[in-house]
């Protein structure tokens, strides 16, 4: 058996394995999970010549400190991330995102932190020696599903790396930077008319700030309290990523990848698919504005987003 692995010297705040998520499980109460920022997840894989849906390590804010054992590998980091490579010979290199590197046996990779976004991605050529559960590698820490018994990584854990073929990899660099645009486009939700016309107006015209209650399940916002004039609870029903719920206190909550599959608060809006990566990357303290778009506009924006993603992916060839 292959024995190449990362030894975790510092786990970081929330270090997990993710891919593009786990489908057909909502009806069992299991969220899709998957990488919060799907574009950066794909870029990470492309930069090390992987299949685009290969498992990657996702980290939040402070990332892990890893020591490579028993072989050399090719890796890449995507996102807005500060990291260092501490070579075995004591040389320290400052890392650059969107580029691939060779890490030698006993080198350390120190992912210090993300900068203006929440999540970053570490990919390794060949992927990790882990098993899919319900057709996905994603770790769901809420239901303890996925590799590492469904838990985030802790100190002294090992993450095994699949056998690889280093000769194949050429040096690739991608000229990309994470957008810091603060306009989030939404389609009106199924309970939009539960809110007073004042609240509807405020929703699309006032600033909201991201509170500290932000994780892979969702982001709680604060700003003006949105006034509900019908009912502050609905009969519990399904939720999807991007849904914006407003509980009785009037503060919106945006649902992300690990959300509860069912919810009982009115839905004022839904973030369009093309803006989900950006929403997930928001950090506490940042300010956002919601902008209304129609379904048709949302579909066109998604098409442009996909073309843009593909353009960058093709640049890696």
């Amino acid at each position: 058996m292959n024995n190449t692995f990362f030894e975790i010297l510092r786990p970081g705040i929330n270090t997990t394995i993710q891919d593009n998520g786990r489908n057909y499980m909502y009806h069992e109460g299991i969220a899709v999970s998957g990488a919060i920022d799907q574009r950066n997840f794909k870029f990470a894989n492309k930069l090390v010549n992987n299949h685009l849906n290969e498992a990657v390590i996702e980290f939040a804010y402070q990332g892990p400190l890893l020591r490579l054992k028993n072989n050399k590998i090719n890796f890449s980091i995507t996102g807005d991330v500060i990291f260092k490579i501490n070579r075995k010979n004591l040389k320290v290199e400052n890392g650059i995102c969107y580029k691939n590197y060779i890490l030698e046996e006993d080198d350390q990779l120190d992912i210090i932190s993300t900068k203006n976004t929440a999540y970053g991605y570490l990919s390794v050529n060949g992927g990790f020696e882990i098993e899919k559960i319900w057709n996905s590698y994603s770790i769901n820490t809420k239901a303890n599903i996925g590799p590492n018994k469904g838990k985030k990584y802790s100190i002294e854990d090992k993450i095994f790396i699949k056998s690889l073929n280093l000769q194949k990899i050429k040096e690739i660099k991608l000229d990309y930077s994470v957008s810091s645009d603060n306009i989030i486009r939404v389609i009106k939700g199924t309970n939009f008319d539960y809110f007073s016309s004042k609240a509807q107006n405020q929703f699309f015209n006032q600033n909201f700030s991201v509170t500290k209650l932000a994780d892979r399940m969702g982001i709680r916002l604060s700003g003006c309290k949105l006034e509900n004039i019908v009912r502050t609870n609905i009969k519990s029903e399904g939720i999807v990523k991007g849904v914006i719920q407003v509980p009785a206190d009037g503060n919106p909550i945006i649902m992300l990848s690990d959300h509860g599959t069912i919810g009982g608060y009115p839905k004022i809006g839904v973030v369009i698919s093309a803006d989900l990566d950006r929403v997930g990357q928001l950090i506490p303290g940042s300010t956002i504005n919601f902008k209304e778009v129609s379904l048709e506009e949302a579909q066109n924006i998604f098409k442009a987003y996909t073309e843009d993603t593909n353009k960058y992916l093709n640049e890696c060839n």
């Binding site: 009806h27 199924t190 029903e237 599959t261 839905k267 973030v271 998604f302």
Partner: protein
């Protein structure tokens, strides 16, 4: 059966089966869900990524790279449902220990409903329940309807951590916390039974929509020595 279909964002269809919560409407949702699941399993339809049935709604998520709302709506409107294609009225019995350390809210229920613990338990155990849906957290069943005399609002301040296995009631419903989780239901006991088993890949969830559930009381000794 579906009264109205609308879009929930740009990647999901929201199917409304009615505003009431009752077994008839819910059975319609489940029939539709089972039928669509079969079609997806047999690769008869493309692009659908998730189905979320609830009391009276069904959300159909799709992959925007493969299909879109208009196509999905069209598909949903033209499906002919065979009623009760896959009857799932399996009966399941759930053991519950209601001793003080597991039944956390009898005092509250006592104050709110002016009814003794013994009376609550008699009414609760003396009925078979219907599973409306599964979700929120993995495998959590939403069961109903409980006796009108024991219906009570959620806690004013929800618990940060409800213990795993807790059996809760609120309004017309009962549920089981399959994981430790935040929650505001009135807790009347705890089951040692594994209601969600992530190691059982073929069938992780014990209780599914349409199943009939009854509870029976066990002693603390039986609870502690429970062996599945």
């Amino acid at each position: 059966m579906i009264i109205n279909i609308s879009n929930l964002g740009d990647a999901a269809a929201y199917c409304d089966f009615g505003s009431e919560v009752n077994e008839i409407i819910n059975s319609n949702v489940i029939d539709y869900f089972n039928h669509l699941s079969e079609l997806i399993k047999n690769e008869k339809i493309k692009g659908i990524t998730n189905l979320t049935p609830s009391y009276n709604k069904l959300i159909v998520s799709f992959n925007l790279n493969v299909t879109n709302y208009k196509e999905t709506k069209n598909l949903l409107e033209n499906i002919i449902i065979q009623k009760n294609i896959k009857k799932n009225n399996k009966k399941i019995k759930i053991p519950v220990c209601c001793e003080k350390e597991y039944g956390l809210d009898f005092e509250r229920l006592n104050t709110k409903l002016s009814i003794s613990k013994d009376e609550i338990l008699k009414l609760f155990f003396n009925k078979e329940y219907f599973c409306y849906m599964t979700g929120f957290i993995a495998g959590m069943p939403f069961l109903g309807d409980i006796n009108e005399k024991i219906r009570c609002d959620r806690l004013e301040t929800p618990r940060v951590k409800v213990p795993k296995g807790s059996v809760g009631i609120t309004e017309q419903f009962a549920n089981i916390y399959t994981f430790e989780s935040p929650g505001g239901w009135n807790i009347i006991g705890n089951t040692p039974l594994k209601v969600f088993d992530e190691m059982n890949l073929a069938e992780p969830t014990l209780i599914k929509p349409g199943n009939k559930i009854s509870f029976y009381q066990i002693s603390k000794e039986e609870y502690l020595n429970w062996n599945e």
